[in-house]
């Protein structure tokens, strides 16, 4: 695996939806359960799309809301209007 | 190497100068091979402390809690002072024998029955 980026999310309602969206949108992502948390590793680059999470949650979800659910991350960050991306330069 | 500082010539107080200890020096003692005593012990001792007092009163007060201490013969112990082999003389003070401020004394006592 090329150097993985990773994100660890709370197992809250929002956090689980975000994790599900990541798995759907990033085919090479791997999901690891921990007590009260979910860790997702992905080679090179991982994208969280606001639209995907909104669809899963059944409400408008803004990617900046990630701040409510994230526990830890690894990689450089790019925040934009519709998405939140982790990558290595 | 000098510390990087806003102004040249930076210096601050040396907190453990010997003058701060009211006539005592700091001396560290360590009974080797007995790590139930987790680390060396810090003692404030005047330089004129007789070695006899260290060996006869102070070290026992610290180490007698260990059952092994009952068999210890300090006369047969191996000593190091500040990284060098040391043969302390009972009749003299520690200061006369090279124990200075923040000196480290390490000693090994033979297991019972050995030389």
């Amino acid at each position: 695996m090329s150097r993985p980026v990773s994100i660890t999310l709370q197992n809250s309602q929002d956090g689980i939806a975000i994790a599900d969206a990541i798995m759907a949108d990033n085919p090479e992502a791997e999901r690891k359960p921990f007590p009260a948390m979910t860790k997702i590793d992905c080679p090179g680059r991982l994208v969280i799309r606001g639209e995907s999470v909104s669809d899963l949650l059944g409400r408008e979800w803004d990617p900046q809301e990630i701040h409510m659910s994230v526990i830890s991350l690894s990689g450089s960050v790019d925040e934009d209007d519709g998405s939140f991306t982790l990558f290595w330069r | 190497m000098a510390v990087a500082s806003l102004k040249p010539g930076y210096a601050g107080p040396t907190r453990d100068r010997v003058d701060n200890f009211h006539g005592a020096q700091l001396v560290y003692v360590h009974w080797e091979e007995h790590l139930n005593f987790c680390a060396a012990i810090t003692l404030p001792l005047p330089a004129d402390t007789p070695f006899d007092a260290l060996a006869g009163e102070i070290l026992p007060s610290l180490y007698a809690a260990d059952p092994d201490w009952a068999d210890v013969d300090l006369g047969a112990a191996r000593w190091m002072l500040d990284g060098r082999d040391w043969s302390p003389e009972p009749g003299r003070s520690i200061g006369e024998q090279g124990v200075g401020h923040k000196s480290l004394i390490r000693f090994w006592t033979a297991p019972a029955g050995n030389a």
Binding site: R3, P4, P35, A36, Q64, H67, M68, V70, I71, S72, L73, S74, S76, V77, D78, E79, D80, D81, W88, R89 | M1, A2, V3, A4, S5, L6, A11, G12, T14, R15, D16, R17, V18, N20, F21, H22, A24, L26, Y28, V29, H30, E32, L35, N36, C38, A39, A40, I41, T42, P44, S61, L62, A65, D82, G83, G100, H101, K102, S103, L104
Partner: protein
Amino acid sequence: MAARKLSLKQKYGHFTRGLDWEPSYQKKEDIFPFASYEGIKVHDWDAWEDPFKLTMDAYWKFQAEKERKLYAVIDSMAQNNGQLGITDARYLNAVKIFIQGVTPLEYQAHRHFAHLARHLPGAGLRVAAQMQSIDELRHCQTQIHTISHYNKYFDGIHDFTHMHDRLWYLSVPKSFFDDATSAGPFEFLTAISFAFEYVLTNLLFVPFMSGAAYNGDMATVTFGFSAQSDESRHMTLGLEAVRFLLEQDEANVPIVQGWIDKWFWRGYRLLSLVGMMMDYMLPKKVMSWSEAWESYYEEAGGALFADLARYGIREPKYAEVAKAEKGHVSHQVWSIFYNYAQAAAVHTWDVDDQHLAWLREKYPDTFEQTYQPRYLAWRKQAEEGQRFYNNGLPMLCQVCQIPMAFTEVGDPGTISFRVSEHAGDKYHTCSDGCKDIFDHEPEKYVQAWLPVHQIFQGNCGGATLPEVLDWYHINQGADNLDYVGSPEEAQWNKWMEGRRPAMPIAAE
């Protein structure tokens, strides 16, 4: 015509770059006097790319929501006697280490990030530092609020700020942060944002927060998650700041490398107290210190430094020593706290057979040979009514300030002694790592306020132990000594007895 909405990046750009200006009648070096004395060169502050695009309105919105959620849990825990849900009262000693040792560091971080928010020349970095300053104050406050519930029922928590500034083991975290805050802004960023909050952060977070989860401390878990969401911004700041410095000028590389070497080592030594906590104070254990170090430093750190190699950065200088010591340090630090339980505001106790078995399993190469015999001997003394307390005060390392209980690599029977001479005086350190730090900047470390030396200078309330404990504000016979025989043990046993029904509930 509909109003055009600014994109996230545009909005953020206006807020940071847009509000900045070039001074026209004062010199930049007078406005930012801390910017160059460390020797770091930055040619283009505009090259700093803010990873997060958080504007103040969004910041307040999210932080307020985190607070609402957290305080609901704190209230609920208080109303429902949540303290009864922990596995055992011994667990609380981990919480005491946290409030005494870590919470005051959050406050130091708050103050110093406010300083950086003023003194960093780049607008984007100043914004990140300002938000971090407020985050750290929030962490300090939420920890105090969360743990205040335990203060109603348990000992050692009542005067943590006073103790942090005085007690022998608390000078370890205190001096760590004093060292960082008395350094310049770029060293501080490397020390705290990068080394502590990025490289080593999981070795603080996972033991305490998973430890809380495994041991029924829901309030601490909740506080932990609330803080960690801020930490992802902090760790990103650390990584990006170090990359930025390395990219700005080749001359920065050896300076940053020196800081990485120093702060890796200082952080590692500080974390040995956490290793002790996770191997000994958690009735239900998460993983061993050795496992945590392998996972969160050797594997994760390995990948990170492989990446930074492109800038000419190598792994921290004594990383191999930390790896070699991982089977030892937690036991050595537990031995310190066991030796000096009479002078600490946390309890220790004799290790039972089940715990010994776990330690043998987790430390197959070191525990049975080196540490188990000592623990069995102590347990025997305690059973005979002679629980061992060390009568003498320990020798402390001049730099990390931990009692010098660490041993030579490959020789766990021999204490690691190092010594330096400066201006006619000797200075003792526990390791090559700490000695290097002393030798590099002796003018700093000769000023160290070493608790044992201060006692002997007569600055700590008196010449006898009870006087010193009074000066520490230790409630003698309650905060200190062995857990067995303590008031909180008696209280815990009474509560647990009270939870058992007086009569059988179901038919036999």
